[in-house]
């Protein structure tokens, strides 16, 4: 039977990446002075697993590489090797390398052989040059001898043209208790050739001494046929230590007639106890790993091919699925109840119908919540990579930094989790590089030598807030301002609030680092970060105090699939405005409106002039009722720090809407971020507020 191993690849990759994370976390947690055995064990198990899996699923280069790591870890685990910082660093490097290999294989890309080889060499140097004398050299030596001996035995068998084997098999009394059974072994033997078995009852004690759970019989077996010794060995492999065993080739010339006579001689040979030497016993063992583990890139790729088709999967807590199944059950009950009502409907069943419908509504809502819940992942999926990042970077920059993670179990939509990773890395790098001062500067400033970076996540309303907080030097407003003027980003005379000054760092082409480092400060950065966050429907704000530190807070919607919206009416059309974007809604009178030639209309709201966007004009709605600004409503919305007033007929209700992509089904439309289907089946467009604000300010 042939089994397509590729079907297990996806799970294997997922587990391997998890294993790598476990190893990484474990390695970072290792305290040089006082090594936790369980920690080492966990790391070892992860490596061990990846090795075993990759071997089984045919990724030989991976298993080959992991083998070296495993050996190193094994020695640490057994206390034969000291855990040193160098060794940990080498292992961390190997984790990275392994991650790259696995990513490459799962993406069906080429593995960077040179890099792998280099890392493997570093590992091997660590393994051999460490503080322990390894016996790998002697092992290899003995393996060579073994295989040599093996060849000799096998070839001698063949050249002599042996016709079978004589086996004297006396199990020890406790053999049965290991779950082994002579009968099964004989059955196996009989598959190899014609088997003749003679049983010896002599060892059986008297009836009263007989323990039925013990084995007191021994056997004399003859098996005819041209059978390699290794196959016989295989069968007895598991019981070698639980029996007296002698395997002898039958005489080449012995014929059937002579066999009974020959028994005598064979018996003698048994008495001579010419047992197999341990060396020969080794021949049955599998080929040493080195032989079949040469990096075979093509094969690796082949093996990965059907397994990873770029499909993304998600691990879901069984509890969540149970809830879901429960909900569906409830829904089915409600449905059958309703159909019962509908079958013979009479007016007096109206109450029942109403009941049923409200139940249906409740169940649907709960079902929706449970389904959304499946996509929710703890933010720790993103946070978990930071201890490593901070460890590496602080070493590189010679800074002392402690990373504090808060609220790791806060759950957020999978898409958000994935898209959040890069912006966060950027922010943490910035804090590390620009925020936290050098130890000496910190002491001089009267702060603790070790700086602290806090990553915190929490829910607020329908949003998740993620804060990157550092106790570094904070943002210097004067420096920011000077820099912005120098770069021509703002006018020298510009009057900026604190908030606006801090937000300068989000402008393209702004970098305050005095020198560019490879840690951060490539000039592209914060503007990209802000754009990414805004694409996710979120916003980003900065709070900073000079000398005390900065906090950057990211606000994001919990999910990208559902939106809290305000539906509005413009003529016959319905639009949805994301609730979070709405500042207020106002009626205007003529005195508030200004018309600027060539620049459109604005209205004054308290001391601010806000551009007006006439929705019916932009979207070409001919049925609009309010054509004069004073007749309708102005909804003030904010996007990208700028405001505009949307001129509409009326506000309708607030509701949660499911976002359907317009791009996927039609094409991108400016000012519209998606569409949704309303309760009556009609389609409403969801407004892209930042886009509209941009339009209005042009």
């Amino acid at each position: 039977m042939s089994i397509d191993m590729a079907q297990f690849h996806q799970v294997f990759f997922e587990e391997s990446f998890e294993g790598l994370d476990v190893m990484e976390t474990g390695l970072l947690n290792l305290d040089m002075g006082d090594v936790d055995d369980e920690e080492i064990n966990t790391i070892f198990r992860a490596a061990h697993y990846i090795k075993g899996g990759s071997g089984t699923f045919g990724f030989t280069s991976v298993s080959d590489f992991t083998h070296v790591m495993e050996t190193l870890l094994d020695e640490m685990r057994d206390g034969r090797r000291q855990v040193t910082q160098t060794a940990v660093d080498v292992l961390l490097g190997s984790v990275d390398c392994l991650r790259e290999m696995l990513t490459a294989i799962s993406d069906e890309q080429d593995v960077d052989e040179a890099r792998v080889a280099e890392h493997k060499k570093t590992l091997e140097i660590e393994l051999n040059g460490g503080e322990v004398k390894t016996d790998s050299a002697t092992e290899t030596g003995s393996e060579a001898v073994v295989s040599e001996a093996g060849t000799i035995t096998d070839s001698s068998v063949n050249s002599d043209g042996e016709q079978g084997w004589h086996i004297a098999f006396s199990p020890h009394a406790h053999l049965l208790k290991t779950g082994n059974d002579p009968v099964r072994m004989f059955r196996e033997l009989s598959h190899l050739g014609e088997l003749t078995a003679t049983v010896d009852f002599q060892g059986v004690p008297g009836f009263y001494d007989l323990d039925p759970e013990e084995c007191h019989l021994s056997w004399d077996l003859k098996i005819a046929g041209d059978i390699p010794e290794a196959e016989i060995d295989d069968i007895f492999d598991w019981v070698e230590e639980e029996c007296d065993l002698a395997i002898q080739p039958l005489s080449a010339k012995s014929t059937k007639a002579e066999q009974s006579a020959a028994t005598q001689t064979v018996d003698e040979s048994i008495q001579a106890k010419t047992e197999k030497t341990p060396l020969q016993a080794e021949t049955a063992k599998p080929v040493p790993a080195t032989e079949n583990s040469k990096p075979k890139n093509d094969k690796n790729k082949e093996a990965a091919k059907s397994g990873a088709k770029g499909s993304s999967s998600i691990r879901v807590d069984t509890g969540k699925i149970d809830t879901l199944i429960n909900m569906v059950g409830e829904l089915v009950i409600t449905q059958s109840m309703l159909s019962l009502v509908g079958e013979h409907f009479e007016l007096n069943k109206l109450d029942q119908l109403k009941n049923g419908l409200s139940q249906l509504e409740r169940h649907t809502r709960e079902l929706q919540e449970s389904v959304m819940n499946i996509r929710m992942l703890p933010i720790s999926f993103v946070f978990s990579r930071f201890p490593r990042l901070v460890h590496d970077l602080s070493t590189k920059l010679d800074k002392k930094i402690e990373l504090v993670l808060v609220g790791e179990n806060t759950e957020v939509d999978k898409t958000v989790v994935e898209l959040l990773s890069d912006p966060l890395v950027h922010l943490v790098r910035n804090s590390l590089d620009h925020g936290i001062e050098m130890p000496a500067d910190r002491i001089a400033a009267g702060k603790p030598e070790t700086g602290t970076i806090t990553l915190e996540a929490y829910h607020r309303g329908g949003n998740i807030v993620i804060e990157v907080k550092d106790d570094g030097k904070g943002l210097n407003k004067d420096v920011l301002r000077a820099k912005a003027i120098e770069k021509g980003l703002i006018d020298e005379a510009a009057i900026l609030t604190d908030k606006q000054t801090y937000e300068l760092i989000f402008m393209a082409g702004f970098s305050t680092a005095e020198k560019l480092t490879d840690v951060s400060g490539r000039g592209v950065g914060m503007d990209v970060v802000r754009r990414n966050i805004q694409t996710l429907g979120g916003n980003i704000e900065i709070i900073s105090e000079l000398g005390k530190g900065s906090t950057i807070a990211i606000h994001l919607p919990l999910t990208l699939a559902i939106l809290d919206g305000q539906s509005i009416a413009v003529g016959d059309e319905r639009f949805i405005i994301p609730l979070g974007a709405i500042i207020e809604s106002v009626n205007v009178n003529e005195s508030m409106i200004n018309r600027v030639a060539g620049k459109g209309e604005t209205f004054r709201l308290r001391d601010e002039y806000i551009p007006i966007v006439r929705m019916h004009e932009i979207f070409g709605v001919k049925t609009a009722q309010a054509l004069k600004l004073t007749d309708g409503l102005l909804v003030v919305v904010e996007g990208q720090g700028m405001r505009c007033g949307l001129f509409i007929d009326d506000l309708l209700g607030q509701q949660q809407v499911v976002i359907k992509s317009l791009e996927a089904n039609y094409r991108k439309v400016e000012g519209v971020s998606g569409a949704t289907i309303l309760g009556d089946g009609s389609v409403a467009l969801i407004l892209d507020i930042p886009g509209l604000v941009r339009l209005s300010n042009q």
Partner: protein, 120 residues
Amino acid sequence: MASILAVDDSASMRQMVSFTLKGAGYTVVEAVDGVDALNKAKGQKFDCVVTDVNMPNKDGITLIKDLRGLPDYKFIPMLMLTTESGMDKKQAGKAAGATGWIVKPFNPEQLLKTIKKVLG
């Protein structure tokens, strides 16, 4: 048809073992570690146990030892999945009462062949 308890903390290995054995007509119950396996083994009598060695909570060798102590599992074949480097593990396993071992990495055919050896 014989029932088999497959124990491995790695989901992919467990799936592979279970899928292979089910494909050959065996009834397979999966367990994620030694503790889980022991509980499942107490609830139902299996004809064979296949277990990984390195596992959290309770490793394969301790599991075999514990199972052998149960009257139902006195003579049941128990196989451990081990790597070629684990000779000392084999010894420890045998001492705990393991019937035999399957050397990792193995392919489905090798697994079935070995299972047939003990179950027929």
